[in-house]
Symmetry: C2
Subunit: 260 residues, 2 copies
DNA sequence: AAATTCGGTTCCGAATAATGGAACTTTTTA
DNA sequence: TAAAAAGTTCCATTATTCGGAACCGAATTT
């Protein structure tokens, strides 16, 4: 008892990071009062906390005094991305998969009930190649997310998704956990997941789970517009996607195992 | 006196962020003892600090207990990058400049004595398009850096660069602040900066300063291999680079000014 | 096999930093 | 010009961090 759901506050840092999330992940600069309304801190406390985040360059203020994400975040992330071992191991396989299918290939890892995209390979390098990298999407309505979830057993799954809100993005989005669990069961049996316009209208994908032996849950997917990426195509690609996932897992294993 | 150089510690957050820098910006996973040697914290303290960073997903541990950057950094950074107003305003101009010159175009902002790259446009999308974004380089030996520095007066400049170590990357790298200041004077008079293999052998560039009216110092540059990007080419491109910088500043101004 | 070192973790009184209510200043609105 | 709202500073109280020392387990040495 006592612990309401999953609200561990890691002391000072936890509070500051929650505040950083609030401001940095918002989609526009926020004024002090906006933040005050959303955080439940007293004025004095909030003011000092924001000052500290600005002092550390995790937030910045524009000339109107509004708060927005600081450049230090970008710096920290770039190194971590560039040297991410999982991403490096997976990359060549993503390229192969892209070549085989001609469509966009994603690599995403599960974090809580969300998927965070670690890499993306597109055929024709379109306008903003990296637009997706680092983005978070709900696990329950994305191919990569459902694939990753399928590697958990029902108990873990329910724990992880407790409190999840099933937002109806499209008419095909899962409405509740029962519906999702049914889907997951099929995915487990079959070895790959489909996303048929569940997150975004007109976008379909096929994905396979990756579970690294350090406990990381992730997935690879091939994604494209529904008019081009038909059910038949997705079926046809499923073995390729599963193959890519298998290769990535094997490379991870042989790369990390021996060094032990 | 008292304040040794510029070592403000923002209480708890400052210490934790210094530690995060140490671990996340390292180029390999670090064991507890490695970190202990580099940070000057007592064992107990360090252990708790690392635990907090891991708890908050700013760091992770691999199966050997070594510490490495966490995925939350990537998530925070992606939103901040995607919504960065300066970058959005600059982007079309970077593309134009890329088209005009055929070489790689960079956008970087000054942070302390370093430049952090905010965007990059390449002609032929080479292997890792985004490899550079978020990376930091010393200001004194990069085109973008020197251009940005040239917008400061000598006093600010000396303050900012006090304590700077002039690492000799190549035989052309500035060795001391006097040499740099001479160069900066020329840059100020001329309106653009050259980097003739000062940071990396075989790489040259021409850059122009950008100063937003919110005090941000930044720069645009066109960069390429010395064998292709000759002095004549750089001379020829200088007006184009200055033009791009001017357009970016104007767009920033007209975008932000009216809203005031 | 026993002893020792090494790498990492836990504990708890003392030291330090964060908290938050209230007073104060500046800016905006009426 | 007054009044309200927004933002900032102060400081006694409270909570958190600090850090030395003890502890644990695994690997290494004797």
């Amino acid at each position: 008892m006592g612990e309401t759901s999953r609200s561990r506050e890691t002391g000072t840092l936890g509070k500051l990071m929650a505040l950083l999330d609030l401001v940095a992940l918002a989609d526009r600069p926020m004024r002090f009062t906006d933040i005050l309304a959303l955080s439940d801190q007293p004025r004095g406390t909030l003011h000092r906390q924001l000052s500290h985040l600005v002092e550390e360059d995790l937030l910045e203020t524009d000339r109107e005094g509004r708060y927005l994400p600081g450049i230090r975040l970008l710096h920290l992330a770039s190194r971590s991305w560039a040297r991410n071992e999982f991403r490096m191991v997976a990359e060549p396989h993503l390229r192969v998969l892209q070549g085989q299918t001609g469509e966009t290939v994603h690599l995403g890892v599960l974090r809580g009930d969300e998927v965070i995209y670690l890499d993306k390979v597109e055929g024709r390098q379109s306008v903003r190649m990296y637009s997706q990298i680092g983005n978070a999407s709900p696990a329950y309505c994305t191919g990569v997310g459902k694939a990753a979830l399928s590697a958990l057993d029902d108990l873990d799954l329910k724990t992880r998704l407790s409190g999840m809100v099933f937002h109806p993005y499209t008419e095909y989005t899962h409405r509740d956990i029962e519906s999702l669990l049914e889907d997951i069961n099929v995915i487990r049996a079959r070895g790959h997941a489909f996303d048929l316009e569940e997150h975004e209208s007109g976008i379909c994908c096929v994905a396979a789970p990756i579970h690294s032996d350090d406990g990381t849950l992730a997935g690879v997917s091939v994604t494209g517009p529904a008019y081009r990426v038909t059910s038949e195509k997705l079926q046809e690609w499923a073995p390729l996607v599963r193959g890519a996932a298998a290769s990535i897992m094997q490379d991870m294993h042989s790369r990390l195992g021996p060094r032990r």
